[in-house]
Each structure stands twice: as C-alpha cells, then as structure tokens.
Subunit: 150 residues, 2 copies
DNA sequence: ATGGCTGCAAACACTTTGCATCGGC
DNA sequence: GCCGATGCAAAGTGTTTGCAGCCAT
C-alpha cells in the first residue's frame, strides 16, 4: 500500500505553492487514520484536537487534498462525500444497514479498461452496496419474527 | 436491453399499492427517453409538458421509482443524483470536461463479485471518470498554446 | 512583510417535509 | 368517498463563499 507519508506531504504542498498549516496537517492525519469518514465526522474529530477549527477549513482542506490527488472522494452509497487517502485501486463493499465499509481488491479486467477508445480514465470508482453477513442474518431473523419482508 | 414498458409500469405501481398519476407517467417517460439527467433537468423538461408540476413531485416520484427498482440513481462524478431506467449492468464513462456519459459493458469478472464472503450485493456501481477523446484533444491543444499544463 | 489561510456567518445548491387541496381507484 | 398524491413554501442537509484578521514562508 503506497501512501503519502506525513513528511512527503510538505513537499507536495510546496510544489503546488500551498502552505502547510497546523490545521492542514491535522486534517491529513485524521484522514490517514480514519478512512471513509465524511466531512462532518472529520470535523468532529478535528475539534477534539483543535477546538477552534472551522468547518470551512475542513471543507477547503479536503477539497485541496483532493485536488492535489492526496485523497480520493466517494459517496459510499450515501448522498454526501467520504474521504480516504489515495492508495491502490480497490472496490468498496458498503452495508446498507450498518454503514460499514470493507475494501476488496478490484476484479482483474478492470485495469484493462484504462484506455477505452481513446477515453482517458483518471479515476475509477467501483462500489458494491448491499448487506454485510451480520446485518443479513439480523434481517432474516427479523423477517421470520415479523413474517414480513419485501 | 430489458426495459420496463410504459404498460408494465402500471402493474408495478398497483402491486406496490401506488397510484399511477399523469405526473408519474410523465416523469417515467422523461427518464426513459433521457437517461443520466439530474432532478433539475428532469424538472425543466417536465415543466414543458405540465407547467404546473412541482419540484417536490419530481423528487418524490424519482425516489418512488428508485424504491420500486424501476430507475437507478448514480452521481456520475458530480455531487448530486442522476437517474436512468434500470437496465443491464453497465459502467459509466463520464467526461470531466463536457459531462458526456457513455455506457460500456462491465468487465467480465465483475459478476463474479456478486457473492463475497456472504456479503449480499444489491447494487453495483462502476464509474470511470476522465476525458473523452474530443475533450482530450482540446485540452492538448490548449496546453500547447498556453505552454501550460499540470 | 506579504499574501495565503483561517474562523465566522451568510449564502448556496440540492432535497425533504407540512399542510390544504385535488383526484385515482 | 376515501386516502393517497400534488403544489406550494418553508425547513433541512451538505457545501461554498465574502471578509477581516492571522501566520507560514
């Protein structure tokens, strides 16, 4: 797993003519340590370390990290954005009940799609939403109990 | 391409205990004829046919169609929802410049992911965003002209 | 020291909801 | 005729932006 280190981040920022502030470093650390969070959750975590950080800074920084290609943005089956460090290609297995996210290797053959009739693919998103084994079991027992299910 | 016909839709609604109103039929037709539109664009088209339809009806109907499994919802690289009739599995090739959407068959091997360690996959979304050949050419010539590019 | 970055709050875009009326079944 | 569906407008989310002061370079 090739990840941006905290040190190499400084260079990336410099190269892009951006400043590396304490807030940005904090947010980078949070995203590093907690993949798949959304902006609100990241903001809550950030507040614990820096009680006067603003939401705007969170959004601006996440957008910046995305522009620099340091993080990837995805929806994970919801309407709003979730963030994670850019790493090897992988698919997301998202549970509709508990919201858990599992990463799995993408099917071979996906890489073959990198060049399609001259279309230049920059980012590939593969999301599988459904029910994780645990929630699936719970749903089944609920259905039995209630004798009701779609 | 197996698509819901306008006639079979009535039965689907009845079975779900929903009424088939003129508004719903209109919105279904629009989505049938114009895949990949977002709610605003659909609303604009709907207004031409029925000047007093409300946005709320559009959102409520699109949500209903999604619940009934008649349409699929995806983001197409943007932050908001786009709608299309549910059809065979396919991937979306979305251009970052012109926003065009091309559908391509999914790589074989994707179907094999349908059951993963007991995870029950309900919907699979494969999106490839990048630049279409036309926009790619334009970008290259712009870069040459301006001697500037990331 | 200077221009980018921040916090605050207001503005925005998209979507949902409350309520009175309307119309499919 | 009943109850679900509609239109309207207001409320709700998630995100962006304007501006005065601040701090990394």
């Amino acid at each position: 797993v090739k990840r941006e280190s905290r040190a190499s981040i400084r260079k990336r920022f410099q190269k892009a003519g951006k400043r590396l502030t304490a807030e940005r470093e904090l947010l980078f650390d949070i995203v590093s340590r907690h993949p798949h969070l959304d902006a609100t959750a990241i903001y809550q975590l950030a507040l614990k370390a820096d009680p006067k950080i603003g939401q705007a800074t969170v959004y601006r920084t996440l957008n910046l990290l995305a522009e620099l290609g340091i993080v990837d943005v995805s929806n994970l089956g919801e309407a709003h954005a979730h963030y994670e460090l850019r790493a090897d290609d992988h698919a997301h297995l998202v549970c509709l009940d508990c919201g858990s996210v599992r990463e799995i290797p993408p099917p071979r053959g996906l890489r073959a799609l990198d060049d399609l009739d001259g279309f230049d693919v920059r980012q590939t998103t593969l999301e599988l939403v459904g029910y994780c084994p645990k929630c699936l079991a719970k749903r089944r027992s609920d259905a039995t109990t209630q004798d009701e299910n779609a």
